[in-house]
Symmetry: C2
Subunit: 380 residues, 2 copies
């Protein structure tokens, strides 16, 4: 086994845990905070709640919300300007992956300068970032615990993956109460994103015993809780999805992902589709492509989802795809790329882009752009 | 579920990983290092190897080794003096629990002043500690990832438990190559200590989904690898014990322990016995005492050790004790307190001390000194 690293933030988890935000921020020396969030979270009342918590503790707050669902380079640069003008000392990200990734981008620019595209790829950030606290409001991106930020380069139509130990925040406050204001579609898309994090990182070439146990824990919890969480907003099921998303985040942050996410980023850069909705479509084809390189591990995933120990390794590895496809079909979500995209005219470009994505590196089976095109055709 | 915290250091794991020590130290700003270790590790050549790594990277090293197996308050104060005289900026602990706990004590004194007994109990350290890197050389204490330090107060004959988030180091470098120079007895005592960490923290009242998965992972790995690691020094088995010890450390550091460790500390303060050797003796009686408060969890532990899914919950919970006792008996280690201690004249005192130990707090079943005396009599 190779030498492996495992780094995660301090985690504060539980229903009602946002009440610890002010003391966490004070512990990091906060006097002037930049809060990054979005309009959806204003509408649901959480932004005001967070601002109240900070103001009651006598912190000066600036608030940045000029963000789209897939945050863009120009938005990050604008947020950095606000941080500097406000003379902020701590940055707080509240949201799904988008506001949190934007907050990471802002923190990178205010401490390291330049443009956010300067940091695309792995380990390009050299100077320490200001203290960061993230509060996830979806159970999916895992960005609140991870070394990853995904920012769209609008001009090149690329979702850039920025990967650095420096992007792990100081503290992640995970409060499952924040999930109840989410739509069925967002709960599903987020949970399937987390499931893809867990599956791709479990079979990654960089997986370690520390990431593998987190990945399997996440897969089990998502398989058990996805339905009651999405369809009934069952509080216990939502809480379990929050645990799963965090565990999957610990796993992919340290073990990396694979060509599923590389393709999803490439598609998302071109079409601005909902990230989580591309993954149930791509996953079965990606898994089928990867099985020859990680048959035993795919069998473990199948067993974890099925909780069935009666088949041979060979049958079980192949079973993953059917099991997943069945699970997704029951959820009544788009299952083909053609249901999501306007046309297939950019597919070759998208696959050329995807092989350049940093997420493709630890994929268990070597894949060139033609392999990825095969996956897309299978998923079309 | 209550609100729960999970904090661990950055982990670098793998055979040969000590080669990253210099770059890790430099990342933390090290120019003048205090290395804390002991004579056993000098004899096996690791101290010189570590000093060479640091000196080749142009770091000024002071070396402190004036330590007994259960480090004492006066030794910590001496080490702190050396740190200050050397004007050190980073502290490195190399060893089993003893040198690492001593290094934590030294780091506490040089930054917070006073005597180490001022910090006994939970959350008494207020000022930040100097950067710390730990390199465990036994697969057991978990001190290299934990918030705990155990220091003996010589005058009071007490092993003090000092518990603080500040005691989590910046980086833990876990290199299983360092385990091969250990004796069978030390491998066993260390692994059983880790097993006790995993079992006690799994049933702790502060356990969370993040600590529970680590605890079960540790229990499974120890049950599978204890024998080949201790008896054949099988490298793969030793590596798995190192993973287990780290996972158990992540669990107990965040979920706490129980009356088994409280009693072991109390016994160790009075008699200077080998910590790991008291635990196989105490564990069965402690588990028997705790079963009424955590029957389902004890059944999960029994299943994890046995990998048997065929019994009812009731039978399985009771089975843990037999399974463990059988496992320990096969290892040919002392199984009664009378084999370890010179006499039983201080038992009441020891139990009065143990109920005061911070480790007793999260025990799943409330226990007064009479309950602990019952456990000791059962284990005598």
């Amino acid at each position: 086994m190779q030498i492996t690293k495992f780094a995660i933030p301090e985690i504060i988890f539980g229903n009602g845990s946002i009440k610890y935000l002010a003391s966490c921020a004070q512990r990091l020396g906060a006097k002037r905070v930049l809060l990054v969030s979005d309009k959806g979270l204003e509408a649901s009342g959480w932004v005001q709640k967070i601002l109240n918590i900070l103001k009651e503790a006598n912190m000066e707050c600036a608030y940045f919300n000029d963000l789209t669902a897939n945050p863009r380079d120009c938005q990050v640069h604008q947020g950095a300007k606000m941080y500097l003008e406000h003379k902020a000392d701590v940055i707080i990200g509240l949201g799904g992956g988008s506001p949190i990734d934007a907050a990471k981008g802002i923190a990178t620019i205010v401490s390291n300068g330049g443009k956010i595209s300067d940091y695309e790829g792995a380990n390009r950030i050299s100077r320490p970032l200001p203290p960061m606290i993230f509060i996830p409001t979806t159970a999916g991106s895992g960005s609140d615990v991870s070394q990853y930020a995904i920012i769209t380069d609008k001009e090149r139509q690329v979702k850039m993956a920025i990967i650095s130990r420096s992007l792990v925040p100081n503290i992640s406050i995970i409060d499952p109460d924040l999930l109840v204001t989410k739509s069925r579609k967002l709960i599903l898309a987020s949970a399937i994103d987390a499931l893809a994090h867990a599956i791709e990182s479990y079979v990654s070439r960089l997986a370690s015993p520390f990431t593998e146990s987190q990945a399997l824990n996440a897969i089990k919890l998502i398989a058990e809780n996805l339905n009651p969480a999405a369809n009934n907003k069952d509080p216990e099921a939502l809480r379990n999805l929050a645990i799963a998303s965090t565990a999957a985040g610990m796993s992919f942050s340290n073990a990396g992902l694979g060509v599923g996410h590389a393709l999803a980023h490439s598609l998302g850069g071109r079409y601005d589709v909902m990230h989580g909705m591309t993954l149930p479509i791509l996953l079965p084809a990606v898994i089928r492509f990867n099985i020859p390189s990680c048959r035993n591990k795919m069998a473990v995933i199948a067993r974890t989802i099925n909780d069935a120990h009666i088949y041979s390794t060979e049958i079980e590895a192949e079973q993953v795809c059917d099991t997943l496809q069945q699970m997704f079909e029951e959820l009544d979500i788009p299952m083909r790329l053609r249901d999501l995209l306007p046309d297939d005219s950019h597919m070759e470009d998208i696959c050329h882009m995807a092989v350049q994505d940093a997420c493709a590196v630890p994929n268990p089976r070597k894949a060139d752009w033609r392999d990825l095109l095969g996956i897309c055709i299978e998923a079309w």
